[in-house]
């Protein structure tokens, strides 16, 4: 047999077999899948890391603060030196206030925009507007936070004179603007996937475009729309910079939206920007709050996945 090259006596099969038997190549063929599995495991390790970090440090926190005080306490005063109080409810309520206001802004506007883009707009209009919505979704949250503090709050103060500099209303509205593109874009996807034959059937029976949109397309796409809303609200709950800048740092347990509040995320930022020493109860409290936040968003995300899988209309 020829030592190498295109010897006449060598068939292609033999060449392939020979090249396959080269040691280095065989080694790489075996090695690469292992390396790739390891990279894939990093994402699993990240989740495990998050869960264990939060659980361990939260456990440490509950060695010092009773879990019932934490879950049902109506006062969050970690910085009061002699008798700090760690009741999570004010932080949860602050988060919910912002998220509800955000949803009140984003859900009607987002779904209306989705209906317009999917049912009324021409292809050309849709191709112009969708990228602009994507730009809106790509604006960093710190920019939105600055916008809320320096523009939306002063504007609202002219309408509602009793509004404080830090309040729930302004960050709520701006978080709503932030999640609007998400609802609009995901809902539009859901509506666009409703087949045209169904629309045409309704139109042929004499329905107007509005009736087709509301009575035919909307119900058919409902699971996708609800999933998009749940995902967006989950994003609102985890939003940090807007509420840190414009929401204030006063955890309160009431339904007032004109006064200063504090959300779970804003508390974590407040403690991190200050110098809470490692090992203090305040240091561990950010993990407990982070864990609570994680549970909230995880439930919302699983709910969104469940809705879009369980109630999907197949065509």
């Amino acid at each position: 047999m020829a030592s190498h090259g295109l010897g006449k006596e060598q068939s292609i099969q033999e060449m392939i077999a020979k090249s396959r038997n080269k040691k280095g190549k065989k080694f790489i063929e075996k090695l690469m899948p292992i390396i790739l599995v390891i990279t894939a495991l990093i994402s699993v390790l990240t989740t495990i890391g998050i869960v264990f970090t939060l659980i361990f440090e939260t456990f440490e926190f509950f060695q010092r603060v009773s879990i019932t005080d934490y879950l049902f306490g109506k006062e969050w005063l970690p910085f009061s030196g002699s008798e700090p109080l760690y009741g999570i409810l004010p932080l949860v309520l602050g988060t919910l206030k912002v998220s509800v206001i955000a949803a009140m802004v984003a859900v009607p506007l987002g779904i209306a925009a989705a209906i317009y883009l999917s049912e009324y707009a021409s292809d050309k209009t849709r191709r112009t507007i969708k990228p602009i919505l994507e730009v809106l979704a790509g604006v960093p949250t710190i920019v939105y936070g600055f916008f809320a503090l320096s523009f939306v709050t002063p504007l609202l103060q002219q309408l509602i004179p009793s509004l404080k500099i830090f309040n729930a209303l302004s960050p709520g509205i701006v978080v709503g603007i932030m999640i609007l593109p998400m609802i609009a874009s995901l809902s539009e996807d859901a509506m666009s996937s409703v087949p045209n034959s169904i629309r045409e059937g309704a139109l042929a029976l004499g329905a107007t475009k509005l009736e087709v949109a509301i009575k035919v397309v909307l119900p058919a796409a409902l699971s996708g729309i609800i999933a998009s809303v749940v995902l967006a609200v989950s994003r609102a709950i985890g939003e940090t910079m807007i509420v840190s800048l414009a929401g204030g740092a006063t955890p309160t347990f009431d339904l007032d939206v004109t006064g200063s509040i504090q959300t779970m995320t804003a508390y974590i930022v407040q403690v991190s920007s200050g110098d809470a020493g490692y090992g203090t109860t305040i240091y561990y409290s950010i993990y407990a709050v982070g864990f609570t936040l994680f549970v909230f968003t995880l439930i919302m995300n699983l709910l969104a996945q469940y809705i879009s899988k369980r109630f999907r209309e197949e065509y």
Partner: protein, 292 residues
């Protein structure tokens, strides 16, 4: 017996058509309102900050005085951070996507990884900050360094890069792989010489978009305890640093009115950086992406 009463239909038709037009207008206005917000936001920030954009602004470090405050350390810090995030997140992300698309069998383990990735994408960024604080800053003792922040941010955008890479790899038609095998190529040869070259534009586009998200991200860095005002440039992987969003956050928090303008100027720089990155991503997508 009459099933459809023409006169009733005719009577109602007018109001139904009117409703249609009214609601169409409402839907259009809702869409335009979203676009209008973007315009107001941009106009507002440019009009406030443009006056502060000059050579000094780029040459000065952070300062307690508005007229001396500059963005040099933050801009360089953001660029350095990007240089760490890009390779780390892309190696991990593309590797995972290759495994899932090319090697993984359809079994429970694969489904678990896939579900894990989609759930990881929904975890708030501030929670990644807590992870980084415990694992990278404290356990691995990297401190509040470029490396600790780079790793944290890489994990944050990892799910986005994985999903984008998976889509790009999936879009490479099966025939191309089979042709490659038919010529006697091994699996890894097929991946490096056929699949990856075809998927690279999609992977790059997705990765740059993910990277631009990391550049604008603030919350995890605050949790890691990255300082906001630095008088020096980072000189190594373990050096302290600051970034544009952190610097803007610090300025926006300050009560003096002058800092509002400085913050706007900082935002303009950040937005220009993001626009450049997004333009590169769109350029790659339009120029190199093949349709099969």
């Amino acid at each position: 017996m009459k099933y459809i009463d023409d006169t009733v239909v005719m009577k109602r038709m007018k109001s139904r058509l009117k409703f249609n037009v009214v609601w169409k207008t409402i839907f259009l206005l809702a869409t335009l309102l979203a676009l209008l917000t973007l315009v107001i936001l941009l106009v507002r920030i440019v009009s406030q900050g443009a006056g502060y954009l000059n050579v000094d602004f780029f040459n000065n470090f952070g300062s307690r005085f508005a007229d001396k405050a500059g963005i040099k350390a933050a801009l360089i810090g953001s660029v350095y951070l990007m240089l760490i995030i890009a390779p780390v997140s892309m190696i991990l992300g593309v590797g995972t996507a290759l495994y899932l698309e090319e090697y993984a069998k359809k079994n429970k383990f694969t489904a678990f990884i896939q579900m894990n990735i989609s759930n990881l994408a929904g975890v708030p960024s501030i929670v990644f900050g807590l992870l980084g604080l415990t694992i990278f800053v404290r356990m691995l003792m990297l401190g509040k360094s470029l490396l600790a922040a780079g790793f944290t941010m890489s994990l944050l955008i990892l799910p986005v890069i994985i999903v984008a890479s998976q889509e790009a790899i999936r879009a490479v038609p099966k025939e191309q792989r089979e042709a490659s095998y038919g010529m006697g190529a091994t699996k890894w040869q097929t991946i490096t010489r056929v699949v990856l070259p075809a998927a690279v534009p999609g992977i790059l586009t997705g990765s740059i978009l993910a990277l631009s998200r990391a550049v604008g991200e603030t919350a995890p860095l605050v949790v890691l305890g990255i300082p906001v005002i630095l008088q020096f440039l980072p000189d190594g992987l373990l050096s302290q640093f600051t970034t544009l969003p952190l610097q803007i956050y610090d300025w926006a928090k300050r009560p003096q009115e002058a800092f509002q303008f400085v913050a706007s100027a900082g935002i303009i720089v950040l937005m220009i950086l993001l626009v450049i990155m997004n333009s590169i991503a769109i350029f790659i997508r339009n120029k190199f992406q093949k349709r099969y």
